[in-house]
Amino acid sequence: MRSGVTCHQINWQDGVSMVKSVTILGLESSCDDTAAAVVRANGPEISVLASVVYGQTELHAPFGGVVPEIAARAHAEKIDHCVEEALDRAEVSLSQVDAIAVTAGPGLIGGVLSGVMCAKGLSAGANLPLIGVNHLAGHALTPRFTDGAVFPYLMLLVSGGHCQFLLVAGHDDFTRLGGTIDDAPGEAFDKTAKLLGLAQPGGPSVERAAKDGEATRFAFPRPLLDRPGCDMSFSGLKTALLRARNALLEAQGGLTAQDVADLSAGFQAAVCDVLTEKSRRALTLFKERHPDTPPLLAVAGGVAANGAIRDGLTALSRREGAGFIAPPLGYCTDNAAMIAWAGLERYRAGQFDDLTLVARPRWPLDSQSAPMLGSGKKGAKA
């Protein structure tokens, strides 16, 4: 991410006027990206001064999924380097920072702990306030600093570890309207890529293969569309793809390029249909609850990078008379700018933590709704 990016102006909506500029250092280490960023608010003007992400894709590639212990080892020895690089690129010293924000969950606990302990060291050593941030809040609040989104809005959070609809009414006010009851779509894309011999991560490679494919050749299920509500399921879709693949392997001894393309297209179309139809239902719920607010659908998470899914959601929003926000890819996938931003919103509200801050593997954003059965096998559950 380029330094010095100035994003949209923000309407704070809270009547608090910022007398001075506020600079937040953010740390993120909840899955397989080690990240640090510096975000500054000067009145209504928001700038991402630096956003550094160290990925771990190569470390996990041989294992076909994120290995928690490998991730934790990498985070513990990278996070401080990442912080140094972010401060360097932002040309900001710790003495010019107003608070340290860190992902305190949900996620792979070894990684979260590494980030939280590094942040505690920074906070104690530099005598700066510490702010624990929910990783999901980071994603859910991203449209605020990238596009100036105004509360309330509807958020579809869809990644390798998460899939849920959130009604975002304030920086600390989230209502979950529904979510996956088993796997997250990003995890299903990865599994599909593995089964078809495509590269990891699976999102981009399956999308590429699907371009030349015929989506209707295989009749893949659209799980839970026959049931009311906004809950989703992707585990049966994975099984259906595995069966279709195995049938071809048995009949032909292998897959042709066309088979791979058709299976990819069929799988992607099924995910797209489920997400689009459930988004429509979520938008309906949003309109019922906020009849006087122009509806707005925002999407974040790695799966939001998928062109077909983006197109489906864009078309849906147009049909439903809703605005649509898909932040730039670097802010859709895991990053620390969103953590610094969510920290900034908490800073304004005077919500600070102390050095006893707890790292949490599970941390639902919406404490009112009943917990979900699962939200992705890849890691973070909420």
């Binding site: 401080d80 702990l113 942040a119 060291g121 011999g197 042709t256 390029a257």
Partner: protein, 202 residues
């Protein structure tokens, strides 16, 4: 580095938070709080209490010393990550000291340093004076066979252990040191993917 630098040493490689504060070679405060879990929440406030007891602040410190294990993987990461954050914020060195170096500190002659691991295993290293051996993970019978009649050092009180972390780091403070890194000895548990890619027909 001043002649009598303030050294703050801490260790969470076993079921404890252990802290020692030294002024040069003089021990000023040493505390050990036993706990199986909760070190991540307990450690930093405990360090602040120790500093306060000696009447100093974070800014007075000259050196951070941290136990890098082997031991509980999560535990050693907790201390290493905190030490790295502190070093960055305070612009002072953080030096990592392994459990083997800690046990061998001040011992002359051939020595096995032994640290309990999980599932009845042990981490062990054999040193002959200044020549240090390769860290190993051994079962109890393997350990018995290897160590034989030779001198073994293990089960040091946690107070002595953490104080020695500080003393070893002091001996290294005159030259540049790498950032502290956990010493795991055992590779991560991870099985390669069991899905084989299909044959691509042309």
């Amino acid at each position: 580095m001043p002649p009598d630098p303030w050294v703050l040493a801490f260790d969470t490689s076993a079921a404890h938070c252990a802290v020692a504060l030294l002024a040069g070679k003089t021990r000023r405060v040493c505390r050990v709080d036993s706990m199986v879990r909760g070190q991540a929440e307990h450690l930093m406030p405990m360090l602040e209490t120790v500093l306060a007891e000696a009447g100093i602040t974070w800014r007075d410190l000259n050196l951070i010393a941290v136990g890098t294990g082997p031991g509980n993987f999560t535990g050693i990461r907790i201390s290493v990550a905190a030490a790295r954050g502190l070093a960055l914020a305070l612009a002072i060195p953080a030096i990592g000291v392994s459990g083997f170096d800690t046990l061998a500190h001040g011992q002359a002659g051939p020595l096995w340093s032994v640290i309990p691991a999980r599932r009845g295993h042990f981490y062990a290293r054999y040193d002959e004076g200044p020549i240090t051996g390769v860290p190993l993970q051994l079962s109890a019978p393997e350990l018995d066979q290897l160590t034989g009649q030779k001198l073994c050092r293990t089960d040091v009180p946690a107070e002595t252990f953490v104080e020695n972390i500080a003393r070893v780091s002091l001996g290294r403070a005159d030259r540049a040191q790498p950032r502290p890194a956990p010493l795991y000895v055992r590779p991560p548990d991870a099985a390669p993917s069991n899905i084989t890619a299909p044959i691509l027909l042309t």
